[in-house]
Symmetry: C2
Subunit: 308 residues, 2 copies
Amino acid sequence: MAPWGKRLAGVRGVLLDISGVLYDSGAGGGTAIAGSVEAVARLKRSRLKVRFCTNESQKSRAELVGQLQRLGFDISEQEVTAPAPAACQILKEQGLRPYLLIHDGVRSEFDQIDTSNPNCVVIADAGESFSYQNMNNAFQVLMELEKPVLISLGKGRYYKETSGLMLDVGPYMKALEYACGIKAEVVGKPSPEFFKSALQAIGVEAHQEGQSPPVVLAAPCSGNWALLWTAPCESSSRDSTADRRRPRACSCGAVVSLGCLDSAPALTFTAGTTWARPSDEHHPEVKADGYVDNLAEAVDLLLQHADK
Amino acid sequence: MAPWGKRLAGVRGVLLDISGVLYDSGAGGGTAIAGSVEAVARLKRSRLKVRFCTNESQKSRAELVGQLQRLGFDISEQEVTAPAPAACQILKEQGLRPYLLIHDGVRSEFDQIDTSNPNCVVIADAGESFSYQNMNNAFQVLMELEKPVLISLGKGRYYKETSGLMLDVGPYMKALEYACGIKAEVVGKPSPEFFKSALQAIGVEAHQEGQSPPVVLAAPCSGNWALLWTAPCESSSRDSTADRRRPRACSCGAVVSLGCLDSAPALTFTAGTTWARPSDEHHPEVKADGYVDNLAEAVDLLLQHADK
């Protein structure tokens, strides 16, 4: 494996996930992960562009940012790429009126959206609102449609709260997919469009062959992987063997790791702090380029080798 | 297509599904499907062996049978093959102590089962008990286990109540499979073992090549297909093209239809009364051998051609 200096040279930007990287959510607003407040501050003082890129969909960006500020983070609403605003844009562009299967905390993000006479379903990490009644309502809306549209804010399997592991939106998305025989459109990580819009916001071009790539640091959907990688790659095909040496769609978890690790300038950290279970370290598909214990250590490496 | 007489000659037994074939469940005990009470009576007066084969998992067999008797059906508890007793047998044989994610109505079937310190999860059509809290409890039990065991009573997508379509256990099974990265063991239809035990109970041998097959009549897992077919076939492979001409595992829905329709003596009815949606008639995988409007019409054909 190439030394860090070679792998990190030319990095221009960093996408930071929030949950599991900056803090662990939980009762009373959650707790900051040791060293992360200062790590963010150091990144922002460097020449590296920084953007926060989250699949958080239990609360609005305003509420999330307020919470992080109270934990000591230097972060503003304008620096956050989140799936709810991206979904609203799709709904408006396509004239869709959603049945919202979401947490009350994020409902304000949809204030400008017409929800009368629904012709699609938007599903997010609804927590306790994932009642049988609400799931069945969403199911019945979809079954009434000739071409059912299901938009999912992320597809994470679970996340870690201070009190333990919690089911994320992904399992419920899969439940509706199976019930209706459909495929959801995922907004948020690991959608390439989502990462691209985050990169656009900081004026960093997606990786192109032969050029130094930007760095993406994120804890993917399930909350149990923190990946730091050079992305996004460009192809969108998933797993044909012939295609494995070409760069892939920008995404998190399995796909980006398989893809980007095959391409020369790829880089993947796995931050130890976000392990949900020790066995996740031996994930069958995700192979890290290197391991760090937390964001602070990743930022140490970045500033040492990339900030020149 | 061969005439009914040829296709039904030699039939020795009939497995009848209950929901969507005998009655539609719903408020106040549901309603009998027109003609089904008399159709069951006529079948039982014939030389054909009859067994009821259901994935019902919201109520105990005793409660289900009581309800059907009140609707006028000639049926006893001893004539019903249901997944809960089959699951109890597996739990006992394998020393498993389940966390039960089930409907209160079926809990009495598990009275003899040790549920302390769970080392597996049993999931059934829990209805309103599919709360986020209960799903998360099941998820946490599974994630604590080195080798998570999830037993699902059926895998139906949805069923029809008099008030509309309702999510069945299948979507919730898929949710836990995805969350934990595991595969559930399905007890009940479409498991071949389940059909075989039903055939054993009426002393009818599974179909063997070159012999006349027994007839199986059932509405598969999702409740929106009623199939009458010659089964069970024997191979368990699912969908390799090379294998399509050989008989398949006995199951319902897509697998048995693909398989058994390719084998010479196959027979599939689709009973019109159980359509959940008109579009289901054009299911991509399930091709019926013939169509009937209801059980009464299927029994007419059976008695005319098979009861000789």
